[in-house]
Subunit: 203 residues, 2 copies
């Protein structure tokens, strides 16, 4: 059957996204989606467990990609260098499509509380994959967990910047910039500490 | 009426937590909670919107505390220094009670998907409060957002360590240590960069 339905998955996802925007996520049914896409509900359920999965489909492959990047990185790289080195790969493999698609998807998710919660859970799954990947490389649990959190932060903030700006820089550039700003924010503790120290010394 | 019911709020929370552990969160009803506490359902609803709020009650005051700490910090402090300076206050004001209460609460939340999602949403509300607080101090939006994320990370990781360990160090100590380890993890990019540079130079 499936050879008669080229791009069924993509057509279903596009139809779903259109309907979610037009009439809201909660009030859109699977039969409405399949009618719009010109496909059967049976085909729908071959591709997606439910209408929510249409939105979180690509998010499911992100943890797998993260695991692969971490496992394949040269062993001498520090964890944060592994992450910095993987940013471009993730940007091109996961976010290479039309930016408008990602903007629409985000708008749909933001409009529905259960979807927002699901989005947070997916981010958590990514963190878990990263943390596990680094423990496999012999990193202690605390550092592995912290690298995972930092990575999730860099992604969610950089993607937000990408989707918010009118003429955004490429996502890979925003990812690197966000990591750099995060590092400078944490460095500021030293700056302030040494200023305080300088004041104390000059007394 | 309320003067005849001393500690009603605490009694209800204790009874609820006991029942959640004994029979699960989903299958515990408000009448069961009030029967265990020896109070009326009317009293229950004077204190909590629903049974879920019993678990997230103290989490609701954390954003307010964060806002206060940020607003009252000396203006010359860097954002991360403000956070570092506030860790002890939060540890004592929000987590001063019996550690077993917090362990039980966490076990109940982890056992239920909707509660885990709610917990993540609450952490988001804390982040939003922190980010807003720093924007009020004139910090740009990107840095304010990143400081908020970092703070949420430090809290969730340090609290995890506190609840996991058999004989944990005081929470305030774990908070400071977690922040220090996070900074060292991010610093490692330089270390690795300079090692690579050193290798390149020696060729």
């Amino acid at each position: 059957m499936s050879r008669w339905q080229p791009n069924a998955r993509e057509r279903l996802a596009d139809a779903a996204l259109e309907l979610f925007v037009e009439q809201g996520f909660a009030s859109t049914t699977v039969p409405e989606i399949t009618a719009r896409a010109g496909l059967t509900t049976r085909t729908f359920f071959r591709h997606f467990a439910d209408k929510r999965e249409v939105l979180f489909d690509s998010g499911d492959s992100l943890p797998a990609l993260a695991r692969r990047i971490i496992a394949e990185a040269p062993p001498e790289l520090s964890p944060i260098a592994v992450i910095a080195g993987g940013l471009d790969t993730v940007a091109s493999e996961q976010f290479g499509g039309d930016i408008e698609h990602f903007r629409t998807r985000r708008a749909v998710i933001h409009a529905d509380e259960s979807l927002r919660e699901r989005e947070l859970r997916k981010m958590s799954a990514l963190s878990e994959a990263i943390s596990h990947g680094f423990r496999q490389r012999g990193l202690d649990e605390l550092r592995a967990t912290l690298v995972a959190h930092v990575t999730a932060t860099v992604f969610s903030v950089a993607i937000g910047r990408w989707l918010d700006e009118d003429k955004p820089a490429p996502l890979s550039e925003l990812l690197h910039d966000t990591l750099a700003v995060l590092r400078s924010v944490l460095d500021d503790l030293d700056a302030s500490g040494s200023k305080a120290q300088a004041r104390a010394d000059s007394r």
